[in-house]
C-alpha cells in the first residue's frame, strides 16, 4: 500500500547553518515502528535528490515517536548568505510529508494506515 507521510505524521523543521533538520513525528504511537522501518535514510535522500546538495543523516527518538533528519546543503549556503525564500528551512517539514512510502498491505491494513490518494 502506498502511504503518504502527510497522512500518518506531523513535522517541524529548522536550520543550523546550511543544514535543515526535519523532525518527523508519528500521528499515533502504534504507527511509529512502521515509520521507523520504512522511512529510511536512503528513502529520504532519494526524495530530496535535486533539492539538496549534501547528504542525509537520520536519528531515531522512539521516546518521542519521532525521527530526526539532517538535510545537508539544503539552504543555499544558509543563514544570511542564502538567497532562498526559505533560508531558515522552516518549510522543509511539509516537503518531507510529501513523501509516499510503500508499506506491505498486511502491515498497513493491520495498523489502519490511510492509503495515499491522488498520487501523481
Amino acid at each position: 500500500m502506498k502511504v503518504r507521510l502527510l497522512d500518518v505524521a506531523h513535522a517541524r523543521s529548522g536550520d543550523k547553518g546550511d543544514t535543515a533538520n526535519v523532525g518527523l513525528i508519528a500521528l499515533k504511537s502504534a504507527w511509529y515502528p512502521t515509520l521507523a522501518k520504512y522511512v529510511t535514510r536512503d528513502r529520504v535522500a532519494a526524495h530530496f535528490e535535486g533539492v539538496i546538495t549534501g547528504g542525509v543523516e537520520r536519528y531515531e527518538l522512539p521516546n518521542l515517536i519521532a525521527l530526526n533528519f539532517l538535510l545537508h546543503g539544503a539552504l543555499d549556503g544558509g543563514g544570511t548568505l542564502s538567497l532562498k525564500t526559505d533560508a531558515q528551512g522552516k518549510v522543509f517539514s511539509t516537503a518531507l510529508l510529501r513523501l509516499v512510502v510503500d508499506i506491505p498491505d498486511e502491515e498497513a491494513v493491520a495498523l489502519g494506515l490511510p492509503p495515499a490518494t491522488d498520487i501523481s
Partner: protein, 463 residues
C-alpha cells in the same frame, strides 16, 4: 528564593517564556507577568547574527549595542518586578550589557521605581578584543562546519562571542539580582539558571541540569511550543489571536510541567511540545551546552490535564571542555527583488522574465558569485517536490531573483535591472511598488569552538 509550594507540598518554580527572539510579540512579557503566577520571566533576544548587528550599532554609538526592545519589555512588567517579586532573566545585553542595564535602571527611575531593581550584569563573553591574542596562543577557532581556519576571514571579523552557560546567572541571582542581563548567553541557560539557583543543583547533577536545559529548549521560542507554528491538527487550535506563551513549572527533582496561563489561546499538548523539541535538533543523543550534554532520547512526555504536559526521565552527561563561539564576519553584498505576474500563464511569463533579465545581466558583463531565481506560487518552497504541474494554473506567480557578490557596485547595478521589466518585459506584471531592491551587506556566521578555560565571565550587580 522565590517559588511556591504545589498541591503535593513540594516547591514549584515557574519560569515563563516571554520573548522567543528579537522581534517577538511585544504583548507577551506583560501578559506573562499579569496572567497568573510566575516566578521568573525568561526573554531570549539573540539569534546567530544578532550580535553582529549589535556590534555595528555600538561602533556608531558607544551607548548602543543591546536589544532596545528589552527596555520597553521591562517597562511593561515593571509593576510585577518592583512590587510582586517577579525576576527577569534576559540575554538582551548583546555586546553592551552595561549600557542595557543603565537604560533599564533609568527607565525604572523615570517610572517611580528607583531602588526597586537590582540588576545583575554578566560580561566576559565578548572575545573580539582578544581575538588576535587567542589566535597567537594557538586557538584556531576553525569553522565547525567547514573546518576552515579563522585566519582566512580574520580581517573581516566584526563580532566574536562565546556562548556562556548558567554559572554567572546563578551568581547574579545569589547576589540578590532581580533582573539579570547577559550578553551571548545560551538560550537554554536563561531557563536552567534560575532553576539551578532555586533548587541548588550542583555542577555535576547532570540529569537535573539536562532537565533544566530541555525546559529551556521547550520555551526558548516562545509560543512555538504552545500552539504557534504547530502543524498537528492546526485548524483546531483555538484563539491564536490571544495565544498563551509557555510556562515551565519545575520541581527539585528535575521533572516539570509545560503549561500556559488560564484563559489564553493556543494549546499545550504532547504534540505541540514534541514539535518544539525537534526544532533545530542535531544529534539528539548529544545536545551540547556549556553546563551539560543533554540526551533528547531520554525525554518522556505525558498529558497532565488540559494544556498541561508533564516532562520527566531526562538524562544528562558531563559537559565538554569547550565553549562554542559565535563569530560574525563581513561576507559581501546581496540584493533580492521581485515582480508579480498574473493569470493567464503566470508562471510562463515569470520564467520568460527570468531569461530576459539574465540575458541582460550577461550582456552587461555582470557575473555574480551566486544568483538564485525562484517562482513563488510554483516552486519556491518545495522545488522539484512540488511536481511538474505546480504553478501552471496559478492565478499569479511571484518572480523572485537574488544575487550575491563581494563587489557592492555589481550588486547595485543588478538592482536597477528588475523594475524596467515592468515596461520592457513580459505582460501582466505588477507588484513593483517597492521599486529597486536594497543592496545589503551580508554579515555571515562562523561557528567555532574554544577551550572553556579561556573565557572568564564577570558579574556585577548594580542598583
Amino acid at each position: 528564593m522565590t517559588g511556591k509550594t504545589g498541591p503535593t507540598g513540594k516547591k514549584i518554580v515557574r519560569v515563563a517564556g516571554a520573548q522567543g527572539f528579537w522581534g517577538d510579540w511585544l504583548e507577551a512579557p506583560r501578559r506573562q507577568a499579569e496572567g497568573g503566577p510566575v516566578d521568573y520571566l525568561m526573554l531570549d533576544y539573540l539569534a546567530e547574527v544578532t550580535m553582529s548587528i549589535l556590534q555595528k550599532q555600538k561602533e556608531r554609538d558607544p551607548s548602543a549595542g543591546y536589544a532596545r526592545d528589552f527596555v520597553g519589555a521591562m517597562e511593561s512588567v515593571l509593576d510585577g518586578v518592583a512590587n510582586r517579586g517577579i525576576k527577569v532573566i534576559a540575554n538582551a545585553g548583546g555586546v553592551n550589557p552595561e549600557a542595557c542595564a543603565s537604560a533599564v535602571l533609568a527607565m525604572a527611575k523615570a517610572k517611580g521605581a528607583a531602588g526597586k531593581l537590582r540588576v545583575g550584569v554578566v560580561t566576559g563573553d565578548n572575545l573580539l578584543p582578544r581575538i588576535d591574542d587567542l589566535l597567537a596562543a594557538g586557538h584556531e577557532m576553525k569553522n565547525m562546519e567547514t573546518g576552515e581556519p579563522l585566519a582566512i576571514i580574520r580581517d573581516r571579523v566584526i563580532a566574536a562571542n562565546a556562548y556562556i552557560g548558567s554559572v554567572p546567572i546563578v551568581e547574579a541571582l545569589t547576589r540578590g539580582a532581580n533582573v539579570v542581563i547577559t550578553g551571548r548567553s545560551t538560550d537554554t541557560a536563561l531557563t536552567m539558571a534560575p532553576l539551578r539557583y532555586e533548587f541548588g543543583w550542583g555542577e555535576s547533577e547532570w540529569d537535573k541540569l539536562a532537565a533544566g536545559i530541555i525546559a529551556g529548549h521547550i520555551i526558548e521560542c516562545g509560543a512555538q511550543c504552545s500552539g504557534g507554528n504547530c502543524l498537528y491538527d492546526w485548524r483546531s487550535i483555538e484563539n491564536l489571536a490571544d495565544v498563551g506563551y509557555p510556562i515551565v513549572e519545575a520541581q527539585a527533582d528535575g521533572t516539570f510541567v509545560v503549561t500556559k496561563h488560564p484563559n489564553t489561546g493556543g494549546r499545550v499538548s504532547v504534540q505541540t511540545v514534541t514539535e518544539q523539541l525537534v526544532y533545530e535538533m542535531g544529534d539528539p543523543h548529544a545536545y551540547i551546552t556549556p553546563d551539560v550534554v543533554a540526551d533528547f532520547t531520554s525525554i518522556h512526555l505525558e498529558g497532565d490535564g488540559t494544556n498541561r504536559v508533564r516532562v520527566f526521565g531526562i538524562a544528562g552527561k558531563p559537559a565538554t571542555d569547550k565553549l562554542k563561539v559565535s563569530i560574525a564576519y563581513r561576507a559581501g553584498y546581496k540584493a533580492v527583488g521581485s515582480l508579480v505576474y498574473a493569470w493567464p500563464d503566470a508562471l510562463e511569463k515569470a520564467q520568460l522574465a527570468d531569461r530576459v533579465l539574465r540575458e541582460r545581466l550577461d550582456r552587461l558583463g555582470l557575473h555574480f558569485e551566486h544568483v538564485l531565481s525562484e517562482f513563488v506560487g510554483a516552486s519556491a518552497t518545495h522545488g522539484l517536490l512540488a511536481g511538474a504541474e505546480a504553478g501552471k494554473h496559478a492565478p499569479e506567480v511571484q518572480y523572485r531573483i537574488g544575487v550575491r557578490d563581494a563587489d557592492k557596485k555589481k550588486v547595485e547595478r543588478f538592482s536597477r535591472e528588475i523594475v524596467p521589466l515592468v515596461l520592457n518585459g513580459p505582460p501582466s506584471v505588477t507588484g513593483f511598488a517597492g521599486g529597486r531592491p536594497k543592496t545589503e551587506e551580508i554579515v555571515a556566521y562562523w561557528p567555532a569552538l574554544i577551550d572553556k578555560t579561556v573565557v572568564e565571565t564577570k558579574v556585577a550587580v548594580i542598583e
